[in-house]
Subunit: 237 residues, 2 copies
């Protein structure tokens, strides 16, 4: 696996450790992607066995976060990394926090799906937002895999569309609730699901910000998308 974005150290062991935490983030990311995919499918295709699976699998995501966090602390202690090595470790620590919280949101959607399916077997109108947010998470992990800032900026910008889709869904649901108050409990489950998806979009954007931080050494958390794009095209440190 070519990872030219990692500094090469005289210590082969240190290289391996850095490559390992990087690839473990991706494997944790794969698990979280699966959780999200299953949660959305459970809600859209009214499949309770998938919802159950999501709810009972969240502990795996949590366990990976704890292990990886400890591994990062170990590296800080043993290797005392500086410059881009330190940025990698810090980017990993932050990314796994967001991944774990995305896992929590997927679990919430899973629980919502179970509740929703009890009420009714109608389809929830969240498949488009669900697809979009899944695409964002996948794109963010891909940017993290290749430490590709341009891709990170592109994915971060997709959050604008996630937010507007979310707004549309909520307003539409409020209209439905006003015209058929008996459907309120069901509509509220969809509202919570849409909210969770919107938050997952925010967290995918966070991961993109850590990619820019690793590559450019700049914190772009509170900057506009334009500023973020500017940083991304700047000179490599």
């Amino acid at each position: 696996m070519e990872q030219s974005f990692f500094k090469q150290h005289i210590s082969q062991r240190f290289n391996t450790e850095l490559e390992e935490i990087h690839s473990r983030v991706l494997s944790m990311g794969g698990l979280v992607e699966q959780q999200l995919a299953d949660a959305v499918t459970a809600m859209v295709e009214t499949r309770s066995e998938l919802a159950e699976k999501v709810v009972t699998s969240d502990y795996k995501v949590n366990a990976q976060e704890v292990e990886l966090d400890e591994e990062c602390t170990e590296i800080l202690v043993r290797r005392q990394p500086t410059a881009s090595d330190l940025r990698l470790v810090l980017a990993v620590i932050k990314t796994i926090t967001d991944l774990e919280r995305i896992g929590d949101e997927a679990e919430r959607i899973g629980r919502m799906a179970l509740h929703f399916l009890e009420l009714d077997r109608q389809t929830a109108p969240i498949s488009e937002l669900g697809e979009h947010v899944r695409g964002m998470l996948h794109g963010a992990l891909d940017a993290f895999a290749r430490m590709d800032v341009e891709q990170a900026v592109r994915v971060a910008q997709q959050d604008i569309h996630a937010d507007s889709q979310y707004e549309v869904i909520v307003y539409r649901l409020m209209d439905q609730m006003m015209s058929s108050p008996e459907a309120i409990p069901r509509a509220m489950d969809v509202v919570w699901t849409a909210r969770s998806l919107e938050r997952i979009g925010d967290r995918a954007r966070n991961i993109c910000e850590y990619v820019v931080y690793f590559v450019r050494g700049k914190n772009v958390r509170h900057t506009s998308y334009e500023q973020m794009a500017e940083e991304a095209t700047g000179d490599r440190h």
Copy 2:
């Protein structure tokens, strides 16, 4: 200021740096507490000028997070801390992330209050939950100030009550929406506010977990309250 929980170093400058990031977290925490207090008051007492103040002040919280995060990275590079020093720096990095997100939730409540006040000047039934969550944040920051694990565990446990109060509010609002559909837009603003408060409770609990991590060297993120209490009473590393 007595800070016997910090290891004393030969380098007086290093001691000062650690004390400084610790006390800057508390000052950032104070600002976030004020934002939360103003947001809740704006919503409960229908005061739009306070809501405006919250919305326009969030950038201060963000700026403090960015500065403190950079300061922590600097310390990692220059001091290459280990053991409890490293845990302090990591606990600070994580705490300020949660504080910044609490600031975002306060801003959301502020925006909700502005929208809510446009619709109606009725009082939102969130004062009890608001008070409870404010108390949790204050207690978490106090535990962080004194690195008091017993207090941290007590505050973390208060999240159970926050969650149940939140559930009660949402069910009550759903009943109201079903009986008076015309009140749905107003009720939804209150739902979002209650949700933000519930999330702030979660984040106050996170801060308590970092206190246990700093003092005991244990990650208690995915443990039960009982296990957390057990860790807290364990032997100091």
